[in-house]
């Protein structure tokens, strides 16, 4: 069955039974290479398509997902059973597609045009660059990945939007050794093949591993701390959950009731942007087909807005922000605005403290409901504004919102990660556990 036949059949069954229907087709392909032990360790060349179906009546939605374009009758029945089960009092909607979509060209095509042999050369170079020094005992992986995704969302209200995007990313890990082993990681994203520089990525991973040689723990206590962009990126996933209007409405966010209140240091500005140059997560519309737009989240320390899908926006009597993604409400590009300090000046301002370059355990050691976190960490001791020695086997702990209040300076070293863009920040006080 072709996609159009499938869609028409489904829509007509739905109409017959008095339902609206929406269908979301996603076709994706990926190519990845992992290099290890001086050879290709894994090579993946793959594609798939999937169809998400929603039916709507009386403000309730029934869902079904399939990877085969067959049997629309049976799929409708399955969606109907799910519709019958749902008894939420929150009213659901479809979008009719009449809003204004930001034009963005998200497909470059350079990854597809690049030959496999060039990509193999790329990972070889990446791997060898990550072995930049004799003290590197191992490069567990050097990874290259590119993807292409086409999305098409249509419904019986007239919505009919589509987009195609491609992108790539690459990362490597290097391990150095003295009395124990230390790992260094680096990752970059690109909108075209030439954005990714294997030598730079490999070398940075290598230098990060070398920089931890001789690392030891520190005495437990409260320290002034710089959270580098590489670590803050990870920690921001706590904020993502807190600004979802769904979590706020369901009483699962500590930000509930704090709109228009000061929740952070006045120098902190955070927003969600649908397009950011060189980001690989830009989107003109969300998974409900709603146009994406720029949404201020924290302005000069004041909580301005949460992120909304259709249902939660109606409930709060506001406009949807176009943030329904992958079944939950998420930012497109969560952007922490750059400050005035370059990293050297940030170190000087820190004077005596610790730089955290990476954290472990966000998925377990951080609690999005209370905002409390306790995470494994590594970095450097800073004395008199200069890096003195590396640190590992410590934890940082605190409350994410209290941390926001203690932001003393923001760096100008913004880095693009997948869906997050952030500089490093300086925190006046943080709990560290070690020896």
């Amino acid at each position: 069955m072709t996609y159009n036949e499938f869609k028409e059949k489904l829509f007509s069954i739905a109409k017959e039974k008095g339902f609206e229907a929406q269908i979301d087709l996603s076709e994706s392909s990926e190519f990845s290479l992992r290099y290890a032990n001086d050879d290709i360790d894994q090579y993946t060349d793959a594609s798939k398509f999937s169809v998400s179906i929603k039916i709507l009546k009386d403000g309730k939605i029934g869902r079904v997902y399939t990877e085969q374009l067959e049997n629309p009758e049976k799929l409708f029945e399955e969606a109907l059973k799910n519709w019958e089960l749902t008894d939420s009092e929150d009213e659901e909607f479809f979008y009719d597609g009449t809003g204004k979509y930001i034009e963005m060209d998200l497909y470059n095509g350079s990854f597809e045009k690049t030959s496999v042999s060039e990509k193999i050369e790329f990972v070889k170079k990446l791997y060898n660059s990550a072995k930049c020094d004799d003290r590197i005992v191992m490069v567990p992986y050097a990874m290259y990945n590119n993807f292409k995704v086409s999305k098409k969302i249509s419904n019986t209200l007239g919505l009919d939007v589509s987009t195609t995007a491609d992108g790539g990313y690459s990362y490597a890990m290097a391990v150095s050794k003295d009395e124990s082993t230390h790992s260094g990681l680096w990752m970059e994203v690109g909108t075209k093949f030439s954005d990714l520089d294997p030598e730079k990525i490999g070398k940075t991973a290598c230098q990060n591993a070398l920089s931890l040689l001789g690392a030891k723990s520190v005495k437990s206590g409260k320290y002034r701390v710089i959270i580098k962009n590489t670590a803050f990126e990870d920690m921001l996933s706590l904020l993502i959950s807190m600004i979802s209007a769904e979590n706020v409405q369901k009483n699962m966010s500590p930000l509930k009731g704090k709109q228009n209140q000061k929740i952070a240091s006045t120098i902190l500005n955070i927003k969600d942007v649908p397009y950011y140059k060189n980001s690989i997560s830009n989107r003109p519309f969300d998974d409900e087909g709603v146009p994406t737009k720029e949404t201020p989240i924290i302005e000069n320390g004041i909580l301005k807005s949460f992120l909304y899908d259709l249902k939660t926006a109606k409930k709060d009597n506001t406009e949807p922000t176009g943030n329904s993604l992958g079944g939950s409400i998420r930012p497109i590009n969560l952007l922490v605005e750059s400050g005035e300090y370059d990293f050297e000046n940030l170190l000087k301002k820190l004077d005596d403290g610790i730089v955290i370059i990476g954290v472990d355990g966000m998925h377990s050691g951080a609690n999005p409901i209370s905002g409390n976190f306790s995470l494994g960490a590594r970095g450097f001791r800073v004395i008199n504004g200069e890096i003195s020695h590396p640190i590992e086997q410590i934890t940082i702990s605190g409350n994410f919102l209290q941390l926001f209040e203690k932001v003393e300076a923001v760096g100008n070293d913004s880095k693009i990660f997948y869906g997050i863009i952030t500089p490093s920040i300086l925190i006046s006080e943080l709990d560290i556990a070690g020896e």
Partner: protein
Amino acid sequence: MLNQSLIKDIIGTVLKYGGDFAEVFVENKYENRIELTDGKIQKANTNNISGVGIRGFLGKKAIYAYTNVFEKENLLSVAKRVGEALSEVKINDLTLDFDNKKLKNRHVIYLYPRDVEKTEKVKVMKKAYESAKNYSQLIKQVQVWFWEYDQEVLIANSEGVWAEDRRVKARLMINAIAEHNGNMERGFYGPGTSMGFELFDRIDVEEAAKRAARIAARMVDAEPAPAGKMPVIISNEFGGVIFHEAVGHALEATSVAKGASVFAGKLGQKVAAECVSAVDDATIPNAWGSANVDDEGTPTRRNLLIDKGVLVGYLIDKLGGRRMGMESTGSARRQDYTFAPTSRMSNTFILPGDYHPEEIIAATEYGLYAKEMGGGSVNPSTGEFNFAVNEAYLIEKGKITKPVKGATLIGKGYEIIQKIDMVGNDVGRGQGVCGSISGAVPADVGQPTIRVSEIIVGGRNK
């Protein structure tokens, strides 16, 4: 599922264009996920997942491809791409004789979840909701998820393997949120098995919900955990996540074969305290991480990993086995056809020791009692692990005194297993979903109550 002649054609095509081994993995999975919040069903999703994974080896090189377009022409063209990417060796005369013997199903299912009305599932969920909600006035929100799937797989390869397996799993997950004096805390419990709907005759749904509520209610007013090095007693069942993260991942061929594990080359050596023995066992009937065959078609088995402190085994898949010069231990797993399989844990646990849990607590002057663990993660190449404690208490003078929250335990796996100094006799297993390079797979972790003489606790400083 695909017929035998097409599978032969796919395998033949991979080998014709290159490679010395070819494998086909076909999957059909039917899955239901239902979410309840605020006492109401918010979402009910049904997922039909189906696709084909084609893999080829040449020596130690592996190529993987997947597709969900089942047409013969497409499958053969994907197979050709895999073969061409391997390229160098060509085997032209392939005679394939599949070993078609039926495996005995060790995981008997009485009520296939898809045959049970969804409204019955919702009844169970609402019962859990009521139980958690009524546990205490502090409980302000409860979320309940029901998750079930029925996965049929067919695995065939150029060595004549032909294996079919059907994996049925069901799990109930409860998240309770307590609020008091402006503080919010959550508690989680999520029992699951390789069973059908009869799971709910075997577990007490109300007790399971109370367990989640208890954690939230006890922790909401708890003081922050102390920071620094101290003895830690880790309770049984999900406490086994410490072994899973700190040691288990580093015993997987995925990292051992590359030399990227601290345990590489240490077979036969003493790596843990003598009181520590551990196994990985995917054969336990109806356990959450069990299967009749692994995702390469190798029958699963019980693998002894550590015997009285001595390292005696790794977890090995075919590719890892080639790289290590060892046999597969039936440990290849993958989330679905979009992932190439790799060595993974199934049901992993520390074997029982001599002490009653009360004796271990009584023998501890000062420390942390980790009653319910959260998740964790590890870097196998450095052994650095971390994991969260969801419910903890202080131990003072051999007695459990007050609740404390927000503790994270960190350390290096190879150091921690040498510091286990007391092992209890109360082995229990808990359920989790383990994420790694071949995706998210159901896994049991387990252990008796154990004591680690010294570990860094990440808490707050006074």
